[in-house]
């Protein structure tokens, strides 16, 4: 499965929850599949989806899911020790690991070569790291959200993209409606 197929499958699981979504095609795909005020779309700042979602999870009690990419986690590897050492049960980090920089044309990342992000997350001190194949993600994600333990999911899948328009929502609108949803 490619990322857009995965997002289509897990959209109903994500829908009731606060979601911080990675820059580029992941946000464009989620926006197309199920745009709602509980989604925070990143329009730039590659690497910070995990950090933004984690800050949000620490600041309030609702469940938060950060959708991240292997390339983006590699660019902000320092996030994993921070998350590991300040764990909060309402946080789930979903790394869609397609082994490539998808949004920029599927250039290979080191996560698709010798580097294993599951092992990296564990070595950083994350207690609850689950590696899962794309087709099995749904129940694992639902379990992670429902559990009181913080979970890092590394979802292995294929590289590949669909053609989509960019998001033209104003960032302040995205942020404002998201904050209203946080408060709701």
């Amino acid at each position: 499965m490619i990322r857009s197929e995965i997002l289509k499958e897990i959209a109903p699981i994500l829908n009731p929850h606060l979601v911080v979504c990675n820059i580029g095609l992941p946000s464009q795909e989620l926006h197309m599949i199920d745009d709602n005020e509980r989604n925070f779309y990143m329009l730039g700042t590659m690497g910070l989806s995990s950090s933004i979602g984690f800050g949000l999870a620490l600041a309030q009690d609702k469940p938060v899911i950060s959708i991240d990419g292997d390339g983006s986690v590699l660019t902000n590897l320092g996030t994993l020790p921070t998350i590991a050492n300040n764990a909060t049960g309402n946080y789930t980090l979903l790394i869609i690991d397609n082994g490539s920089y998808g949004s920029t044309g599927d250039q290979p990342t080191y996560a698709g070569m010798k580097t294993n992000l599951t092992d990296v997350a564990r070595a950083c001190g994350c207690d609850n790291v689950i590696e899962v194949q794309d087709k099995d993600l749904g129940p694992v994600l639902q379990g992670a959200i429902d559990s009181d333990e913080m979970t890092i999911i590394v979802c292995k899948c294929d590289s590949g993209n669909i053609k989509l328009p960019v998001i033209t929502l104003d960032p302040v609108v995205i942020r404002h409606r998201f904050m209203e949803a946080v408060k709701a």
Binding site: V20, F40, M42, L43, G44, T45, G47, L48, S50, S51, I52, G53, F54, G55, L56, A57, L58, A59, Q60, N76, G78, T79, P81, T82, N86, P171, V172, I174, R175, F178, M179, V182, K183
Partner: protein, 168 residues
């Protein structure tokens, strides 16, 4: 006056309750003070752009954030300041040790010091420079201004403000 305590007092009085830090020798005292306060959640970050991501999330979660970092981190965070903090219009007080200024013993620090104000000006980031201890009296107003304007705001604090750097 204990400026570490005064800074922490003003942060608490302005309801700043989520603070991320990357250390600098000059900031050791204020970081220790922030860590001690029950009203503040202190989360060290590994890189300052990561810290700004945490602050953005905390702000959207209803908390007032701040970051404490060295001026060299301006070089690390320009993309984040422009595409996250400013683009989405979020407030962020940045308490910055201004290394490489008068009374600096480490030559390399001067190399980022000479760019610091120019970079902040290029980003249209409101910037304040604390050189004398009494300058800290403005801190409370700067915090209020930051959360009024929903912008990142820089407070540069040099070695003279902190009472010198190892040479006093």
């Amino acid at each position: 006056m204990n400026i570490d305590k005064k800074i922490a007092d003003d942060l608490v009085a302005n309801d700043v309750s989520f603070i991320t830090t990357v250390p600098c020798k000059q900031l050791a005292g204020v970081i220790e003070e922030v860590e001690k306060r029950d009203d503040i959640f202190h989360i060290p970050s590994n890189k300052e752009d990561e810290g700004m991501g945490l602050c953005a999330g905390a702000f959207m979660g209803g908390k007032r954030p701040a970051i404490i970092m060295q001026n060299t981190a301006i070089g690390v965070t320009i993309n984040t300041l422009a595409t996250l903090t400013q683009f989405y219009r979020m407030p962020l007080p940045m308490i910055i040790s201004y290394r490489g200024e008068l009374r600096e013993p480490v030559a390399c620090q001067v190399e980022m010091a000479v760019h610091t104000k120019a970079l902040l000006a290029q980003l249209n980031i409101p910037t304040y420079h604390f050189h004398w201890q009494k300058d800290v009296e403005e801190f409370d107003n700067i915090l209020k201004y930051t959360f009024m304007s929903n912008k990142p705001v820089a407070i540069l604090t040099d070695a003279n403000f902190w009472g010198g750097y190892g040479d006093q």
